[in-house]
């Protein structure tokens, strides 16, 4: 059941009109151009370097209204919008091609967990800074010895009375070298079941004893670091939720992460332009109304069927959730299927591009190969495809002993 009251239709129309007027007046023209590369995405943070004045102004204006996170409560700086209003805002932003003013793991991952598990002081301290893009967060989950088997993590937090002392190492920390704070899974109990000795800590990356090392990937990019903790002191009040109950929060947050990864770039395209088939038709030409390369065409068409069926399933799961039906079991399905589709699409794009797609290393924004390589991580990060299938087998299909 949604706690938000239904917004009457008439006032929703007013809201739409006012929103459009405000966006037209306040969204700088440069912020209505398509995002070309990473520098066009604003991540905020203490050391933020705005690409231009427009990016800074756009963030500031949107943050003032809480519209960087339209549905978060007003009490912590959020927009306080209902679901219907938030949808109107998204639609109006899309209509004017407005860019997202702020992208961050604080918004997409930590925020929902803070709102659900944080105490009042933690919410007042951290959420407004996420809303305004003042603090950039990173995630400390995986370790060199704890990948798919995340719960076997060994980074330890020893109780020193008024603080924890952190020792260990995290890996695959997205933008670990750019983040201000980290939300981090640590072991606070080495006895008993591995899931029951994990706690969820928040701490400042500027703390003494933290160092990071960038990891160069097959795509040529280095978005991740390995992060080292050497006697890092973390105040006790930075524990989120209860001691040794961090796994519950970790799972809650992973569900959000999966939905984010699974849903990447796969909108419904029936009747629309820019499908893979149309792209291929432009590159390879048609013969008798059909794509000139019939075997490639068959794979493209099969992909398009699956991609559209998947987009409809995302839509259906959202509709089910809105109707108050149980959909928790679906996040693993969406993550598994969505990421596998994304990889298939990248493979097909490489085939369509032929040798042109092999260009690599000149740093051009149009290069396809790095994008293709990047997709390979989709089915690894946030729980591998195989882990998602395990989860479905165990929790959805109730198969024995999984």
């Amino acid at each position: 059941m949604s706690a938000q009251p239904e917004t009457p239709r008439g006032s929703l129309d007013d809201f739409r009109r006012e929103t459009r007027q405000w966006l037209e007046a306040n969204c700088p023209p440069d912020m209505r151009l398509p995002v070309v590369d990473e520098s066009d995405v604003c991540w905020g943070g203490r050391h933020v370097k705005f690409k231009n004045e427009a990016q800074r102004v756009w963030l500031q204006r949107m943050a003032e209204r809480g519209w960087t996170v339209p549905e978060w409560p007003k009490a912590y700086g959020g927009g306080g919008l209902g679901k219907e209003e938030a949808k109107v805002l998204r639609e109006e932003m899309a209509a004017l091609n407005c860019r997202a003013p702020l992208t961050s793991f604080g918004i997409s991952m930590l925020g929902p967990a803070l709102l659900k598990y944080g105490n009042e002081a933690q919410k007042r301290e951290h959420i407004p800074k996420i809303v305004r893009g003042e603090i950039r967060w990173c995630q400390g989950y995986s370790e060199p010895g704890a990948g798919s088997d995340l719960a076997s993590l060994k980074t330890r937090a020893d109780d020193q009375g008024d603080h924890f002392l952190i020792n260990g190492s995290k890996i695959w920390t997205s933008y670990g070298d750019k983040a201000d704070w980290i939300f981090c899974l640590v072991r606070t109990n080495f006895e008993g079941k591995k899931h029951d000795g994990i706690s969820f800590l928040l701490f400042d990356m500027a703390s003494s004893g933290i160092s990071t090392r960038p990891i160069r990937l097959i795509s040529g990019y280095s978005p991740f670091t390995q992060t080292f903790f050497d006697n890092v002191k973390v105040p006790k009040e930075n524990l989120l939720g209860e001691l040794n109950k961090g796994w519950t929060i970790a799972k809650y947050l992973l569900t959000h992460e999966r939905n984010m990864i699974g849903g990447m770039g796969l909108g419904l395209r029936i009747g629309g332009k820019g499908t893979l088939g149309q792209l291929a038709a432009g590159e390879l030409g048609l013969a008798g109304g059909r794509l000139a390369d019939p075997v490639l065409r068959a794979d493209i068409a099969k992909f398009e069927l699956d991609a559209n069926a998947f987009a409809l399933t995302m839509e259906r799961v959202q509709a089910e959730a809105k109707a108050g039906n149980e959909t928790g079991a679906m996040s693993s399905m969406l993550k598994y299927y969505g990421t596998e589709l994304n990889k298939r699409r990248a493979e097909l794009m490489m085939s369509i591009a032929g040798t042109e797609g092999l260009k690599f290393g000149d740093g051009g924004a149009e290069e396809l190969a790095p994008v293709w390589l990047r997709t390979k991580a989709n089915s690894i990060e946030g729980g591998t495809s195989e882990v998602q299938l395990n989860i479905i087998a165990k929790h959805v299909l109730k198969l024995p002993g999984a």
Partner: protein, 379 residues
């Protein structure tokens, strides 16, 4: 339109679920098969189904139906799929009704729709001539003038053809053999001189027939829609049939999958339940995802027919293509995971694989609809 069922639809589905499981279960299909039943379904049960609103699900109330739309028809078909119920639902309640609603004259509608909705009259679509679905490939000719025609040609895979009270025949009144233009639909009395119908025994134990026409006399009163303009009606008829068959394929995939899960949970080998093996778990989990995708495409396709959307045909290709493909996977996995017992006739699971194959081929399989989807998308 939201991709969830409303209260009325949920109630309708629950009633259909109870009825199909009770009155038309797999045991009944087995009985019809083993007794070489001459009709191929139970006429008394079809009357009961008509009373439940099944035969008239697409028929407007003014013609004696319940007008519950394509989503409603899909809910029935899903239960038919789960129970492998032998009925003339597709031939009569979907194909026949759609042809009359899209092209029928007032006289045709008044004469036939109430009786069809009451379960008293069975219609059969005699359209395909090739063994691979190719609806515009029509060599059957209608020759004549001044409102009188003679039909000659041969049709294959005519569902319920041998028990139909009326046939709907596609014939060429002009144009090339493989052209979309120049086709006309005729209502034909199967007892008329020159009509010969031969029942064909097919793998799913359901009804199919070949129909031969030799100088069969018809008049302009028997034309459905306009002369030479039959293709548009035929497209609508086939699309309705495809969408409903996709729902049936969904139902049978769900049922075969649930039975397989049950078997994985109870069958012991090597001292453990076979459902503990990751090799089987991952295949089952993948199949779960595929069936979820089919569920979305089927509902959306049926909704697009009810709303008469511009892109309904693309959505139907998506649903029928995907449902045919996934039903094949679901039933093949079902037989494989059941092992030896899955190969026995005594065990029911093989019936699902047979029906998946037959319903998959009917009105275009995954290859047909993938190709058609691409063509509709401009490549």
């Amino acid at each position: 339109m939201s991709l969830v069922l409303n209260e009325d639809q949920l109630m309708f589905r629950d009633a259909a679920k109870r009825f199909a499981a009770e009155r038309a279960p797999i045991a009944e299909l087995r009985r019809l098969r083993d007794s070489n039943d001459a009709t191929g379904f139970d006429r008394a049960v079809w009357k009961e189904m008509a009373e439940m609103g099944w035969a008239g699900v697409l028929v407007p109330e003014e013609h004696g139906g319940v007008g519950f739309g394509h989503v409603g028809a899909g809910l029935i078909a899903q239960e038919i799929g789960r129970n492998l119920s032998a009925t003339p639902f597709v031939s009569t309640a979907v194909l026949g009704v759609t042809a009359l609603l899209k092209g029928g004259s007032d006289a045709q509608k008044q004469a036939l729709l109430p009786k069809m909705a009451a379960g008293e009259v069975v219609l059969a679509l005699a359209s395909d001539e090739r063994s691979r679905h190719s609806p515009y490939n029509v060599a059957t000719r209608a020759v004549g003038s001044a409102g009188k025609y003679k039909l000659s040609g041969a049709k294959v895979h005519v569902l319920d053809g041998h028990v139909a009270d009326r046939l709907i025949v596609s014939a060429r009144t002009s144009g090339d053999v493989d052209g979309r233009d120049g086709m006309t639909l005729f209502l034909v009395d199967p007892k008329a001189a020159g009509v010969s119908i031969r029942r064909v025994s097919i793998v799913d134990s359901r009804n199919a027939a070949t129909v031969e026409l030799r100088d069969v006399a018809v008049t302009s009163d028997d034309v459905i829609g306009a002369v030479d303009k039959g293709a548009a009606i035929l497209d609508a008829v086939l699309d309705a049939g495809r969408a409903v068959l996709a729902a049936e394929l969904l139902g049978l995939s769900e049922e075969a999958f649930e039975r397989t899960l049950g078997y994985l949970r109870e069958r012991d080998q090597f001292g453990v339940k076979i459902g503990t093996f990751q090799g089987l778990q991952h295949r089952a989990a993948h199949l779960f995802c595929e069936i979820e995708l089919v569920r979305s495409t089927v509902l959306r396709a049926l909704q697009s027919l009810d709303a008469q959307e511009k892109h309904a045909s693309s959505l139907i290709c998506l649903a029928k293509g995907k449902a045919s493909d996934v039903a094949r996977l679901a039933t093949n996995e079902a037989v494989q995971m059941h092992g030896g017992i899955g190969m026995t006739d005594e065990f029911d699971i093989g019936f699902f694989m047979k029906r998946a194959c037959a319903a998959g081929e009917t009105f275009g399989d995954a290859y047909f609809h993938t190709d058609r989807f691409a063509q509709l998308s401009g490549y």
